[in-house]
């Protein structure tokens, strides 16, 4: 057993440098109880659906989500809208398709197989419309930031008056949790900016939590499947390990030696 302990401590030692890279720049993030953490972590379905509403009514004005398709919205482990709902959502967007038989591009209502419609034609257009700052694509945003969900959740609630002495350029805002504290995005959420279709009170905190949950799913759509399979796989491995351990003891009992 001592060997095993050593192996584990070596693993931990090797992980330390990485953990420290992240913590070196970290401020204390706001914490909330995420349902998707832990061995059996699952998404809160209602929160995901509300989160989609926040995304589509607020964030999507500037932020694309180019790796997601409308069909994902009805898939297992996600917001799990019904297929009819997902179809209706898709159809509410105009998609450019073509060229048709005449060689013309044309507009049609979205289908389940379409990718999320982008707010801007391209990165340059997005920059031009946002004072030179590109609103990052949100498909994997949670995984692309050191603090993950806690960072996004905090950032959304981190808008404050700039401390005296700090000079902010035009179109730059102060945010407690942003790297360097300067952010081009103005505070996107304010109490009651949207009206939740399920009647939940749309406070900034609630919306931050919902939309961050949605972003987590967007970045990691297989999270639930992964947790479920992981539990089974590890239980299976542990049982097999125990069986093999006793077989090993049995086999080695034939020789005068320890294992």
């Amino acid at each position: 057993m001592r060997n095993i302990l050593k192996i584990f401590s070596i693993i931990i030692l090797f992980c330390l440098p990485n953990a420290n890279v992240i913590s070196a720049e970290k401020v204390e993030y706001l914490k909330t109880d995420w349902t998707f953490k832990g061995l059996f972590g699952k998404f809160d379905r209602a929160s995901l659906q509300r989160g989609y509403q926040v995304y589509t009514e607020v964030c999507a004005a500037c932020h694309s989500m180019k790796y997601l398709s409308y069909r994902n919205l009805s898939e297992k482990g996600g917001p799990e809208f019904s297929v009819a709902q997902a179809k209706a959502i898709a159809a509410s967007f105009e998609v450019t398709d073509g060229p048709n038989a005449d060689g013309e591009m044309f507009q049609r209502p979205g289908k389940l197989s379409d990718k999320f419609v982008m707010p801007y034609e391209n990165v340059k257009a997005a920059e031009a419309a946002n004072g030179g700052a590109y609103p990052p694509d949100m498909s994997v945003l949670v995984k692309a930031r050191g603090g993950g969900v806690d960072y996004i959740y905090s950032l959304l609630q981190g808008y404050e008056e700039a401390p005296s002495g700090m000079v902010l350029d035009d179109g730059v805002h102060y945010n407690k949790y942003m790297y360097g504290n300067k952010i081009k995005m103005s505070a996107p959420l304010s109490d009651g900016i949207i009206e939740y279709s399920d009647g939940t009170n749309a406070s900034v905190e609630q919306m931050s939590k919902d939309v961050t949950t949605f972003l987590m799913w967007a970045a990691e759509p297989s999270l639930e499947a992964r947790h479920q399979m992981g539990f089974k796989a590890i239980v299976y491995l542990i049982i097999l390990t125990i069986l093999v351990y006793f077989s090993m003891k049995r086999i080695w009992s034939r020789v005068k030696s320890e294992v």
């Binding site: 070596i10 330390l16 994997v140 995984k143 947790h227 093999v244 080695w252």
Partner: protein, 420 residues
Amino acid sequence: MSDHEYTPKSKAGKWFNDRLPLLTLANHLTDYPTPKNLNYWWTFGGILTFCLITQIVTGLVLAMHYIAHADMAFESVEHIMRDVNYGWLIRYIHANGASMFFLAVYIHIFRSLFYGSYKSPREIIWIIGIIIYLLMMAAAFMGYVLPWGQMSFWGATVITNLFSAIPFVGEGVVTWLWGGYSVDNPTLTRFFTLHYLIPFLILGLVVLHIWALHVPGNNNPVGIDVKKPSKDTVPFHPYIVIKDGFALLMFMIVFAFFVFYAPNILGHADNYIEANPLVTPAHIVPEWYLLPFYAILRSVPDKLLGVVAMLSAILILAVLPWLDTSKIRSAVFRPLYKQFYWILVADVLILGYVGAMPAEGLYLLIARVATAYYFLHFLVILPVLGLKERTIPLPLSITEPVLGGSPNMAMAKKNESKIE
């Protein structure tokens, strides 16, 4: 190769074996006499074989869906994660598999250092191992470039730029490596090609590594030669097979934990941002397994000398059998070496830690001291220690310390149990 003549029982088997002695080989592998006192540090050879095969199999599947193009690589990785059946599982096994591979190889190397497995007559096994390790680093580095995230791109830029330190031809060499004037699509496609090639080179070298091992046989924790076959050995099958299997399962539990519950913890968040040649990340850091060498590189103020120091840090291992002048293999019987061994382990861990930190202030100072000590260990301490050290008398056979014997043997036993 075989220790005794083997004749297949069946007529067909004999006919085949006379033409291609595969059955003789299989018989050799099952009967292969192995010291029976091997501890669990010896199970990492099997674990590494598992890692290599896992990487090759998952890598093949990934290559079916991945697109090696600067404009499409990042997207194709997301396609694997989202649209390919169990693509997320295969990619996470492959990405974390690289880390597990290095974890295992470091344990394997440090086991060798502790028990003197690199010493005569096993120098060739050791040197092949070092070549495998070098190829692993090349494969891992190029593999990390393929998702074409920010760390991929900038890591590739930093590492390939090291070649510009070569006097006179440096710039030309870098342009040649890139296939252009910056890291771009030609760089990505050639890295993909090489990333696909190297594992098979490693596989070939692994065969040689094992072949070379089977000539003298395994070293063991006591570090003395073992008569084979004898009461000191057990046949590889079933004894070592089941023990390696047990250790492998333990390893797989750790592996599974990373894959299923912390698949991104060993990676860098910036690699989920698509490569952008116009934006440099705040800190460019390699994967954890390359950090000690990265620290050595940065601890030298001069670029060329830094590259030389980094390469020497790896290549010095290849001449280790001749730097270590002690005839005693196992650290169990070398009380002083044992202490220096653990200092070296701490030194490498410290180098790994400062490699992840910004190269400035105290971190830089620590990196410099640790780098100096690293070379001191191999170039001064080991040669001198072998000549000066008073070692503990060796037992006559590996069964002796196990069964107890003279007071010295009891002491050896005590020491041995401490490190097991």
